[in-house]
């Protein structure tokens, strides 16, 4: 039945958009864990910061900036923001245990959320772009142009990330640090600098995700939390510190959620995605795509 197929395709599309969101967030989390062994509970809040940056840039009093430039600006703003956080609050504890990392980043998360609450109140901020309400029909599917942009850019970004990590000198240095930190120090790689750059990339990815995807949603102070949780689940499902594995896992989560929500129950979709995560944790603690080490 064509209608059935249409509905199926629509769920697929929803799942891919959601997957792209999770993947952009997860990639940043995974990079940080891979390179500096830090679980960043404030990562979703970077996305939130990007959302408010977008809100401000879209509503500048002296007229609108073209959207593509705004996307670049938001990406850069959050990248710089992440670097600041790293330098001021996290660098001194980077060589401490993961427990300290967890408490420090949770502290940062509380501060960011509530400062946003004080400045912007709980009112959700709508951040529509000119593309949000532009709707095209494709194979009988109605979708916002914004969604096409999201999927296109997400694919480009992941390809670029592959190239960066595998081919560039900096990327190779990051991989080296992730595999053996002490050795890197011995051969003269500037480990703190690598950590800083990793945070910049990670923050930039969160900022990019916000600039692209927040226009379909709305921006609130607490929006980062659920993204952090989903991202962490994907990072572990993909295998801690494995960039590609976690990106695949993020898309799996997005698709599972969409199909379950569409065909079975919306209310229990997160039960299924977190249940899947815990199942993977029990059955394959090293992750779905488990090798032991590596980016």
């Amino acid at each position: 039945m064509p209608l059935q197929l249409e509905i199926f395709l629509e769920h697929l599309l929803n799942g891919l958009t959601l997957g792209a969101l999770y993947a952009l967030v997860t990639a940043g989390l995974s990079l940080i864990f891979g390179v500096v062994r830090l679980v960043n509970f404030a990562h979703g809040d970077f996305f939130m910061v990007g959302g408010y940056a977008l809100f401000i840039l879209l509503n500048l009093p002296w007229g609108a900036i073209p959207y593509p430039i705004i996307v670049i600006l938001v990406t850069l703003i959050v990248a710089v923001f992440a670097m600041l956080i790293e330098r001021l609050m996290l660098q001194p504890v980077l060589d401490k245990s993961w427990r300290i990392h967890a408490v420090a980043t949770l502290g940062i998360s509380i501060v960011l959320q509530n400062v946003a609450l004080i400045i912007f109140t709980t009112d959700p901020k709508q951040v529509p772009t000119p593309f949000t309400t532009k709707i095209v029909s494709l194979l009988g599917l109605r979708l916002s142009v914004q969604r096409i942009i999201i999927l296109g850019i997400a694919v480009l970004v992941f390809l670029a990330l592959q190239w960066f990590v595998k081919r560039t000198k900096l990327g190779k240095a990051m991989r080296a640090v992730s595999q053996n930190r002490d050795m890197c120090q011995v051969v003269g790689i500037d480990v703190p600098r690598i950590a800083l750059i990793t945070f910049a990339i990670s923050g930039g990815l969160a900022g990019l995700a916000a600039a692209l995807i927040a226009p379909l949603l709305s921006v609130t102070p607490t929006m980062g939390l659920s993204l952090t949780l989903k991202g962490l689940a994907a990072v572990i499902m993909g295998g801690l510190g494995q960039l590609n594995g976690s990106i695949y896992a993020a898309f799996i989560l997005g698709l599972v959620e969409s199909f379950f929500a569409g065909y079975v129950s919306f209310a229990f979709k997160d039960v299924v995605s977190f249940g899947l995560f815990i199942l993977v944790l029990f059955l394959r603690p090293q992750g779905l795509f488990g090798r032991r080490i590596g980016l």
């Binding site: 504890v93 993961w98 300290i100 408490v103 501060v111 959320q113 004080i118 997160d270 977190f274 944790l281």
Partner: protein
Amino acid sequence: MTALARARPWLLWVAGGVLVLALPLQYSGGYAINIMINTLMWIVFALSFDLSAGHVGTVSLGHPAFFGIGAYLTALLGPRLGLGYLGNTLLSASLMALLALVAGVAFFRVREVSFAIGTLGAVIIAQLIANNAYDLTGGPLCVKGIARPEFAIPFTDVTLKVIHPLQYYYLLVPLVVFTIVLYKAMTSSRIGRAFIAVREDEVRASAVGIRPLRYKLLAFVVGGGIIGALGSFQAQYVTVVCPSEIALSYTLNLLIIVFVGGAGSLRGVLLGSVIFSVLPRLLEQGGALSIPPAYQQVAYGLILILVVLFMPDGIDGQIRRMTDKWHRSREVEVGEDV
């Protein structure tokens, strides 16, 4: 002199005990006593959490699940089984200890970060079920009208119904005492040393014959049971149980209390609990210093970051360093005397 020095900790405990028992009598209203009840509850909650997080080093972010599910057990099974206060509490405690055992066996297959995030996933699932399994839990409409505890006084026809916060306060005190004594007993014995060995290095601990899983489970199960009992108390105190009782914010509060107070230390956790629950209220009472909740949260977050950066052992570590210095200087004097 030495006798007094040796007796001092005991004197402190006795003084503390008298204070805990007598303080609420100073207040007639329920509000102040309510704050004291909350303080005691955080003490029990945080000590149970610290048993795992501070001593064995397994930081479960899912502890609120034991609290919330324990409360729901009392709310849902209590009226059907008609067990009364003690029965409800014991039922919640034993079932939550059992749940901790099962969850522990499952989750301790993974370690550190994976364990923490896995338990976080579990508590989210529990909350989602509480929120959405409408037929079972009533979802966001909550379970209401939970019976207040009643005690038949022996040899009379009189039944005492617990209504006023003051009565609840004294009902809670035994659980607090039990928790503190158990915590102290476990951590200052051979078990406690095994806990620390597991925390510092699992491989080395196994090498000297300490089985890490066994001790991780022990701390987890004891903590789970106590928190289950606490959840049952909460249900019978507030008489309403909602999905918000399985809240992630409880995990944050626990981390603040334990890490700011001093992980792995009885004194630290006690201090953390009291400061956390009393200080904001005192500032509120002051009137002029009333801090809007969002600012309070920012302050908590900053304090957490500062503590991690500058006093990794929390307030207790700071105190210990100061008293150590004092003791050392005294020892020198004593040495000269002899």
